[in-house]
Symmetry: C3
Subunit: 167 residues, 3 copies
């Protein structure tokens, strides 16, 4: 592991723990997160603090990973994937001030080993996607996904069971 701080005009990585052989493309905004070894992070990606990403993970361009997301080893995250940690987002708190991190309960999302999240999928706050499962492109996932299934649609439903992780 190495602590990386790169503040280039076209790549901002602040206080991130990055494993060996991990490649991060240009136009990214990463801070206070942990990324394992042998990963790829595409362009136009933002990864917020308190995110932990395992080894051999691919993250496609334009994906946004919010605080409190755990991505296990060998997970595929497509392009334009959106994670969420706030169930009922609002701009302001009861005192009429702009909300900050302490003004909402941040729910944890977990993507289990070997799962794949299709491009443009949206994962609502607090979801777990089971090992080896595939979330179809454009799906809106509103509840937990068991292991080794394919889900798709808005809201996402199970389309098919996978006997084992397909390679």
């Amino acid at each position: 592991m190495r602590m990386v701080n790169t503040i280039n005009p076209d790549q901002i990585i602040k206080n991130c723990d990055v494993g060996k052989n991990t490649k991060v493309w240009n136009f990214v905004n990463l801070y206070n997160c942990k990324i394992g070894s042998d990963c790829i992070v595409g362009s136009f990606v933002e990864i917020q603090g308190n995110v932990r990403i395992g080894n051999l993970v691919k993250i496609g361009s334009h994906t946004f990973i919010c605080e409190n997301v755990i991505i296990e080893d060998e997970v595929f995250i497509g392009h334009h994937v959106v994670f969420i940690n706030d169930k009922y987002p609002r701009s302001t708190n009861k005192n009429g001030k702009l909300k900050n991190d302490k003004d909402w309960e941040s729910l944890k999302t977990v993507i289990k080993k070997g799962a794949s999240i299709g491009s443009n999928a949206t994962l609502l706050a607090g979801i777990t996607v089971g090992a080896g499962s595939i979330v179809g492109a454009g799906a809106v996932v509103a509840k937990n996904v068991p292991s080794n299934v394919i889900v798709a649609g808005n809201p996402a439903v199970i389309l098919r069971y996978l006997s084992k992780v397909k390679k």
Copy 2:
């Protein structure tokens, strides 16, 4: 209010009227728009001309706000939200030339006070979202949303009525 012109390699703000205490992150492309006080604008956001944004507004990363959008005070706009002003988009006009702004009727979108637009939502041209309402993440909003409701789905439908704005 202050007129801001910042042409850095990692932040382009051209001819925008920006209120006090408003924070704009890196990797943005803002031009000819008006943003109120105490707002936050995330990374990878583009805001086009003739957009007016009120006070205490949060705009998440990767959001695109097209011309002719009005966002009132205390609105939450999630990540990857997409606004639209052209109902039947085409690349070229009747003369076979690339369309410019004068070649289509740009419809106005309004997000009323205290509403929240979930991440990855798509708002079709000419929509009004009522005060205090929540548009669910990943929703495709094809018609007006009344005040104080939750809508979701593709196309979005009303899921629930809110007795008052939830904080």
Copy 3:
């Protein structure tokens, strides 16, 4: 045609063949692709290698165009549009190594002349969209679209037939 190589902090164009009068905005990542004349490419766009784009094409901000996409003349591509070439994406191959381009069958997507792809649409791997058709904003296109129709929804279905290309 001209071969363009621009490695600025805010615009990366590597080894692309770009036609005359084509305007490319800042914050883009283009490589090994071919773009015709009189086109516009918006900010925060990534276009991968082996992509061929015709003349008079508009590509909105935040769009991601993967390898093996062909876009014909006079096509409109909205904002946040996502193309896909891998039907069952996985992070790793059978040997437990990160997948590379040779580890999957990349399927070809074709957008025929004069078609329009609405913002935030997702096009699954191997799709053809017929000439003059409109894919509605937020649609998830899972099968071929014939010519001169409007499709929308997740999955997208035909909403309406167009007697001729609407301008």
